[in-house]
Each structure stands twice: as C-alpha cells, then as structure tokens.
Amino acid sequence: MLEPSIVKDEEVEYLIKDVHEMYGYDFSEYSRASFKRRVNRICLIDRFTSFAELRYTIINDPEYLKRFVEEITVNVTEMFRDPHFFKALRENILPQLGTYPLIRIWVAGCSTGEEAYSMAILLKEANLYHKSLIYGTDLNPSVLETARAGVFPLQQMKLYSENYMLSGGKKDFSDYYTANYDSVKFDKSLKEKLILSTHNLVSDSSFNSFQLIICRNVLIYFDRELQERVFKLFDNSLENLGYLALGAKETIRFSKLDKNYHQVEDQRIWKKAEHM
C-alpha cells in the first residue's frame, strides 16, 4: 500500500525548519518528492494521524528525533549491488590503486556498511587489503552500529552470493561469514581496515584525501544545488587521478566539475584529471 497523503507541502517546510533549528540536521536541500514520501511513510508506520502529532513529537522528544532521522533517510543497500560495477572496480580500478603505498577509500553515505564490506572483500582478493583503509561515513549513528557489528540477515545471502560471483568473485562467498539462525556475522578481519564515523554530507567538510570515493544512491535524495556542493566536497577530498564512483543512474554530467573528470568506459566511475 502506498503511503497516505497526511502531510501537505507547506507542512513539510515547517518540519524541515523545526528539525534544523532545534537539532541542526538540515534537510532543506533534499529532493522534495522523496522527502515528502518519507514523511508520510513515517506517519504511517509510527501511527501519526495528523501532521500536528508528528510535529509535536519531534519538537518535544529528542529521543524520537534519532528515529526520525533514521527513517527519513533511505537506508536500503546491498552487497555487490550492480555486480558489473564491482567487476569494473576489480579489473580496472584496483590495479591502478595498487600502485599507491597506502590506499584510502571513502564510502560516503555507507548506511549499514554492505558496500564497505564488499570493498574489503575486493581488496583482500586483490591482495591490497593490508595497505588499505576504508572510511565509511553516514549521518546516522544507528546504521553505523549495524555496520560495526557486521551482522546481516541470512535471507539476503543468496542474492549477495550471486552478486559476488557476477562481480568476478572466485571464492565460496560463505567463507566470509559465519551463519546463525537468521543472521550471519562477517569475518572480523573485514573490519580491521574499516573506519566508521558519522559525517553529514550537507554540513561537514572534507576530512582526508582519497584515491577512491564511492557514493552510490545517496545523491539521488539531494536537489541539484546540494549535489553540486557535494561534488565540490568530493573534488576537494580526491587526489589527482583519483576516482569517483556513483550509483548506476547518477551522473556528474549536470555539474560544473564535469569538465575536470573523465568517465571510465561505460561505468559510472569518473577519473579526476591531472591539473593545477
């Protein structure tokens, strides 16, 4: 069933203003179409029958705010989603990164960490893991807890295993985890090189320089102005000749920075040109 239409357009704006002023989370440049659906969805699942009820709870219950931020942002992710993308990383990008003494990778908007773990597996299989660091960031502390635990639903493993094989994986995928009744725990060596931390792409600045930034299906929730600012942030955080990887239907084409980047074949991976 679709989310109901409880919250009106102007009410969404009040809510964004409240949350920003009271708690510092700025959703004002999020794409409205998606954001409005999320607000209506949260009314449905948390049983608010009016906008006033939702607003009252947010204003008066700081604990609820955590849940609000978690539900308002989309945390749907997979391991090795778009296997061809991961195959391109394996075959074209990792050999390039292998020439660096220390490889720094930023998975921006990593949610519950599935792509960071996928990346760790790729690096292991390319024998580069020992000299790599993977930074996983998200604005949401609770999803990072899940990432830190490395525990994922068992029912997903069939799909992840298929994705893994399609990405060029040669091992038995189940070697990477221990199964329990309904969940699996990934091998703890996969998080040895994983640094998880909160970071808000809207308000936080660059914190390191990287040779590869992976940010997939995060920018789709931002409007074009915010996308442009985040591209700048990535540009400031990327070394010359570094790579920026986006989601299957995201593009840097609409950005001013487009001219400084070359697309890698037909992948949604762009290489920063050497200049300045």
Binding site: L2, A33, S34, R37, V76, I220, R224, K249, F254
Partner: protein, 190 residues
C-alpha cells in the same frame, strides 16, 4: 473562470507481464511529433541495464531515454524508468530517482510514479495501466482519478495477463478502455 479544456502534459504508462508487446505496438504507430512526454514504468529484473531502452528505440524515431537522476523532462521524448529504481516528479521539469523499499514487491513501482504524477500534473496527466500479474498501479490510478487526470485501462479481455487491468477496471471509474490496436490512436489524438 474554469476552463473545461485539458491540456495533456504527460502520458504515463505502467505495465508488467504481457505489456511489452502492447508498448512496442503502440510505439510503431505514434505520430512523429508529440506535444508531451511519455513515461514508461515497466516491471523487470533488477539488472537489465539499458536493454529496454535499446529495444524500444528500434521501433520509433522519437528519442527514447533511460532516466538518470535529475533528468529534465522534455516534450516529444519517451522516457523509460530504469530497473530497480522508483521514479518521482519533482515538478513539471525535473525527475528524481529513489531507491527506497519496494512497493507491491516492485521497484520500479507503478503506484509510486502514478501518485507522484497525479500530485504534480493534476488534470493534465493521462495514466495508462496495461497487462500484468500484480496489483501494482491500481492505487496509483485512483490518485490520478482523484486529481482529475484521465485513466485509461487495457481491456482485460485483450490482456495477456489480465490480473492487473481487471483489478483496475473493477475499482476505478476509468475514462477509456483501450485495446493493443488503438492505444497509439488515442495518444495521437491528445
């Protein structure tokens, strides 16, 4: 003063199993210049890349575009919603993609796009629901109807898989029952 005239600004077509032949047949007979865009929401496997776009382009001179996030929408183009994303309209100029939870076991979900089209285009949208084996699309059509848009449904008798259109015909006061042969004619007359 309210005018009765409606000015079609968007045709959005949703289909699942059995809809592809209807869409291909329609494209072949579309006139050369459309004064509105057509958006296609078709259920399919998650990793089917640009296959649908490439296939459809072979049958029509009008440009067929697989939608990237924040694609500007233009008249006289056919837009295909990519596999494994929902499509939303920000306004009449701009489309966004969304990777939130599946709806009716589907991503893209026809309901999600129909509802968004109803909110943005109001009476100036035509929503078309074709053959399919799933209830996705019916609720979305009800939003289009509520916002005074036009609702066309494939005659269940002509549908390869009639569950979706039969469900819709029972629940929605539709404006037009269409057949695979005359869908293009109706669109050409808009």
């Amino acid at each position: 003063m309210e005018t009765k005239e409606t000015n079609t600004e968007l045709v959005v077509i949703g289909g699942s199993a059995g809809s592809l032949q209807v869409i291909l047949g329609m494209l072949k007979k579309l006139k050369a210049k459309l004064s509105f865009p057509i958006v296609l929401v078709v259920h399919r496997k998650a990793y089917s890349n640009n296959i649908l776009q490439t296939l459809l382009q072979q049958f029509i001179a009008i440009e067929v575009v697989e939608i990237d996030d924040k694609t500007e929408i233009q008249n006289n183009k056919v837009y295909v919603v990519p596999a494994d994303y929902h499509l939303l309209f920000e306004n009449k100029k701009l489309m966004s993609l969304d990777f939130s939870e599946k709806m009716n076991y589907s991503r893209p979900s026809i309901d999600v796009t129909f509802k968004s089209a109803a909110e943005i285009y109001g009476k100036n949208v035509v929503g078309v629901l074709l053959s399919g084996a799933n209830a996705d699309g019916v609720e979305g059509l009800s939003y289009i109807k509520k916002n005074k848009g036009q609702v066309w449904i494939q005659d269940p008798e002509t549908a390869e898989v009639d569950y979706m259109p039969r469900h819709a015909v029972q629940e929605i006061a539709y404006d037009q029952l269409i057949k695979p042969d005359n869908l293009a004619d109706f669109i050409n007359q808009l």
